[in-house]
Every structure is written in structure tokens, then in C-alpha cells.
Amino acid sequence: MTTELLKQLFFSMLRIRRVEEKIVELYPQQEMRCPVHLCIGQEAVAAGVCATLTPTDAVFSGHRAHGHYLAMGGNLKAFWAEMYGKATGCCQGKGGSMHLVDLDAGFIGSTPIVGGTIPVGVGAAFGAMMQRLNKVVVIFFGEGACEEGVFHESLNFAALKNLPIVFVCENNFYSVYTPLSERQPAKREVYTLAQAHNIPSFQENGNDVEQVYQMAREAVERARSGGGATFLEFKTYRWREHCGHNYDNHIGYRTETEFLEWKERCPIQHTQMQLLKHRLLTEAELEEMEKEISLELEEAIAFAKSSPFPEQQTIFDHIYV
């Protein structure tokens, strides 16, 4: 991996982190009046996978989608405006945090029904193939979504039609507060489910952006060259509460120890250390990055705050074309 690329991946992760942290900071102002599912701790998957794509590809995601949207280059102003319920939001205020879209960036949409965008993504790949568009579709979802029947229906069809898809499962071990042990049989790795549908399936450390990138690149290449779908399971960890801006280790569904172990394995810290250690990144450059992000953030938030709310009658806009 070139230094340039690694720095790019690092920047992408850092940017996601800072955006999420800004939500943490501002959420208590009660101006973002919608549920938020933060991805702090999971940034490497978003950054690593999306770096292998172009805006002419197509990305889908679920409720925990901020990172995917941002890593694909989704417009930050439109993102913040959407969080604030403004008319200038990426969904004109119709969606909030759980519905993101930026067609120019290839981010087709995220929705909060668990598993809901999986068949839609498969269909997008199918539609693109029928139209001979050279599009790779990436669908992000959690390990919980693999319990929904529609996940299997989607994989079966993807395999049947040899569709250009990369299924990206972020296995963070929990569905809301429920551990895997209460939901799936013991000693069965998630990625083997996809294998059963004849889809090449791999498992990797989701907190190492280089490994994520390598694995995703192979999968995307396979898809692009007609080799069909791939399933990637990345083990990772969500730091904050399932929904909301707080920490919640104290409420008892997981241990502080477990959290701290994963915090140790912070994907951003990890890459930063490597970059610094090998002198691929200077402290000055790092500061520059932080400044760039912070500036962009300030602008976006100012934009969001100063944007108008949608008018009452927009309730009836866009129900039908």
C-alpha cells in the first residue's frame, strides 16, 4: 500500500470520527431531534471499503450509516442539515440520520429497517447488470441483519445471477443490547452463512484499515471483472451506546473490560501509530488534517444551523413522482 493511500485512509477515518464526536458534542442541544447510531470505533470498515470504489458505484447501508456516507464522499453540509431537519438536508428533512443519500457520491441510500436495503442493493446490482453499467454494489449491514430471512434470499439471488456485489458485514457482536450468543448458534462464524450460498466469504479484522482495504479491493475487483459476489465479515466494535450519543457500558449488557480491550484496538490510533512510527506522517501534517476537518465541520454546521426548516406543506411533497 502506498503511503499516499494509507494517509488517505487515515484521513477518511479521522474525518468520520470527528464528525461523530461533533454529534456527541452537539446532540444535547436538542437540535438534532432524531435517533443517531454512531459508528465510533468502526471507522476502518467504512474507510477501507469505500476507498476501493468510485462515485459511479453504488453503496447501500442501514441505520449505522454515517461512516459509509462520509467515506463515499457524501456531502457534509447536506448531512448536517439533514441531522438538523433542515430543508437543505440530503433528504430535505424527510429522513434524518437514519436516511442518508448522496447520489453524486454513489451513496444510494440507507434505511433503518434491519436488512431492508440488502435485497435493494442486490436489485441495484441486477438492474445495473441488465443495463450493462459497470457498477459494483456494496451493501453494509451488521451481523444482526444476517438473522433476517431476507439476507439469505438476497444472497441466494446474488449467487444465482452472479451479481457484482460486495456484502460487507460489520460484526460488532451486538444487536442493540443483545449479544450474539442469544441470537445465533455458538461456534458458528457469521461468514460461513454466505459460503453456504456459494459466495466466496472471508473474515478479517475490521479495525485494521489496511486489511479491510486489501480484502475489499480483491472483492471489488472480482465483482468488476464478472466474478460475482463476495461476502466480507469484519469484526469490530461500537464504542458508544447503540442509539444515542452516550457511553452505556455501565448499564450492564457488556463489560467495561471488553470495551476497553476494543478501545485499545482503536482503528484510528492503530493507523496513526503506524504512520508516525514509520515517519510517513508528521505531527504537522496530522495537525493540518485536524484543522481541515474542523474547518469543514464548522462550515457544515453553520450551514445547517442557518438553513431554513422545510415548510409545512412539504409534508405532501414527494409522495408520488
Binding site: I113, M130, V150, H318, Y320
Partner: protein, 352 residues
């Protein structure tokens, strides 16, 4: 004047042929679509003409395949998804309602889902509780969906072509007992606008608002009533959502009497909406209580011995109308009662 007659099923088939020929982004998918029976004949010949890429069967996975259709629509295709019984769509409510109906809305008008879902409803020949439901009232409840139920072959073709060209998800419900009925259908490609009811018969004494197959029963009742001196106006709704409220209200304002008949359950059903609409908007014109004649409040029993009492018929509309008109209805020997009631016609020998 071209008075070419073809059946409802042939009209559907012709609409599909023409839509696919006109627009290469139209494709059709469903269990049985390319098989030798071709969805009661409605998809026959499509495979040969348009190839297996555009005319395809699918796994038995209704929710997933609905999602697939939606996704392909987002990429510019115009899928037509078909289920041989509406009951199977119960597995796909998530994708139909959470995604198809809302995609355009929830992303602020970006992209749309030009999807047609053909669902076949039926009655008779022992289909029983899980194979003969009629769920239009559910679909009509959901903003973002359009809901169409043609009665005549001509409407079947024109409404299907309009549905396919529509950029929104359209639920297109075909009653199995209409498939073999013939009528005049223009050969060329044409559309009938969604959202316009059809006045199937003019009259000034009583308005019957009907959906799909019940329109035929209404027309039958109207003939008998005419003999008894009552002129019925029959309004074939055709499009349940958007609804042509004006045509219905105008008729009731004229006749002062409203009878609604529908193929779905009465309670919380589409017929309730029509009565409510009229009660709200034309209350002062009503000369008597409005009335609903739709499915009784029970699942479908299988035995033909009781199924024949389950489904409302022309005779029920006749009786209800007489009552509304204050007529002592003659104990007419109604022909309909002497025939088997679980088949649409003599050629039908099951299973569906």
C-alpha cells in the same frame, strides 16, 4: 370500427407485449412467469419474444425479490413483479410498504420506484383461507402506493400500460374470475389514466360503487333492478388509490343512495372508505343509509358447500338495493342460484 374481442388475460398479455416492446427497461419477473402455463396465460409468448433476461422466473422468496425489483427500479429498470396469489405478498409487506411506498418520499424526492406488482385474487374451487384473500384495502391504506383493480379487458390493458409507465409503485390486482371474460380491446397501445373511475352504467335512483369482479355482479343486479323499475348507476372504481372521489360524489349527489360492493373484507375495508367519504362529503344528499356488501367477517372456508354462501353475489346486491329503495323484492327465481358457485364458468375445472 374495430370491435376486436379478446379476453382479460389476453389483454394483460398484450399490454405486457407492447410495454416490453416500447421500453427496453421493462422486465417481468415472478414464479411461473416464463413457465408453460404463463400466469393463467397472461405471460405466454413473452419469453420467446424478449428472452430470458427480461422474462424470468425467480426463487420462492417474495420479500427478497420485491427488494430486488425495487433496487433494479432505482437503477432505471421498470420491473413488473407477479405473484399468482395475493396471499404470497403477505411475505413481502416489508419491502412493499417500508421501501417501495416510501423510497421517493424518504429521500426527499431523489430517485423513484417505477414498479408494478401484479397480484391475483380469486374465489372458489377450494382455495381456502390462505389462497384467496383480497388485500386491496391494506394497500390502499398506504400513501406512496397506487392501487389499481381493472374489471374489463379494455381497462386491464389500458390500466396496466399506464401502471407500467407510472413512475411510482403500483399494485395491480387481477381477479382470477375475470381472466376468461372477453370484451372489446383496441389493438394499439393506449393508457387509461390512474385515478379515474368508470361509470359502467348510468342511472338516477341508486349508486353502486364496485371494485373488480364485483362490478360484474353489480351490473347483473342492475339489470334485474331495472326490470323492477330502479335505475342503478354503477361506478367501477378501477383505481382505489388515487381515488376518483368526484365521480363517486357526483353520482351520489344525483341518486341520493349509495351501495358499495368490494371483493375484500367489509370491516375496515375499502368499502368503509367509500361510505365514509360520502358520509363526510355528501351527507346532506343521502336519502337513506348507505350500505356495504363485501366479504363477511370470516376467513375463507374451503368447502364449496359453504364457500358459495361466503361470497357476495348479484342477488345480494339486488336484495340490498330493493331494501334501500323500499321495494318488497319479489322472490324471483334468480338464475344465478341454480349454477355452481365456485367456478367462474363451465370451462373451469380447477385448481385456480
Amino acid at each position: 370500427m374495430n370491435q376486436r374481442e379478446i379476453t382479460f388475460a389476453q389483454a394483460i398479455n398484450e399490454a405486457l407485449m407492447q410495454a416490453m416492446a416500447e421500453d427496453s427497461s421493462v422486465y417481468i419477473m415472478g414464479e411461473g412467469v416464463p413457465d408453460p402455463k404463463g400466469i393463467f396465460g397472461t405471460t405466454l409468448g413473452l419469453l420467446e419474444k424478449f428472452g430470458s433476461e427480461r422474462v424470468l422466473d425467480m426463487p420462492v422468496a417474495e420479500n427478497g425479490m420485491t427488494g430486488v425489483a425495487i433496487g433494479s427500479a432505482l437503477m432505471g429498470m421498470r420491473p413488473i413483479l407477479t405473484h399468482q396469489r395475493v396471499d404470497f405478498a403477505l411475505l413481502a409487506m416489508d419491502q412493499m410498504v417500508n421501501n417501495a411506498a416510501k423510497w421517493h418520499y424518504m429521500f426527499g424526492g431523489q430517485l423513484s420506484v417505477p414498479l408494478v406488482i401484479r397480484l391475483i385474487i380469486g374465489r372458489g374451487w377450494g382455495q381456502g383461507p390462505q389462497h384467496s384473500q383480497s388485500l386491496q384495502s391494506w394497500f390502499a391504506h398506504v400513501p406512496g402506493l397506487k392501487v389499481v383493480m381493472p374489471t374489463t379487458p379494455r381497462d386491464a390493458k389500458g390500466l396496466l400500460l399506464a401502471s407500467i409507465r407510472d413512475n411510482n409503485p403500483v399494485i395491480f390486482l387481477e381477479h382470477r374470475w375475470l381472466h376468461n371474460i372477453a370484451g372489446h380491446v383496441p389493438a394499439e397501445s393506449y393508457t387509461i389514466a390512474l385515478g379515474e373511475a368508470r361509470v359502467a352504467r348510468r342511472g338516477q335512483d341508486l349508486t353502486i360503487v364496485s371494485t373488480s369482479y364485483m362490478t360484474l355482479e353489480a351490473l347483473r343486479a342492475a339489470t334485474w333492478l331495472s326490470a323492477a323499475g330502479v335505475e342503478v348507476e354503477v361506478i367501477d372504481v378501477r383505481s382505489l388509490r388515487p381515488l376518483d372521489a368526484e365521480t363517486i360524489l357526483a353520482s351520489v349527489r344525483k341518486t341520493g343512495r349509495l351501495l358499495v360492493t368490494d371483493t375484500s373484507w367489509t370491516f375496515c375495508g375499502f368499502s368503509a372508505e367509500i361510505v365514509a367519504l360520502v358520509a363526510e362529503k355528501a351527507y346532506s344528499h343521502l336519502l337513506c343509509s348507505p350500505c356495504r356488501v363485501a366479504l363477511p367477517d370470516a376467513p375463507t372456508p374451503t368447502s364449496h358447500a359453504v364457500a358459495k354462501f361466503y361470497y357476495p353475489r348479484a342477488v345480494d346486491l339486488y336484495k340490498a338495493s330493493c331494501k334501500m329503495m323500499g321495494l318488497q323484492h319479489a322472490e324471483v327465481e334468480l338464475e344465478i342460484l341454480s349454477t355452481q358457485l365456485d367456478v367462474p364458468d363451465k370451462s373451469f375445472t380447477g385448481p385456480f
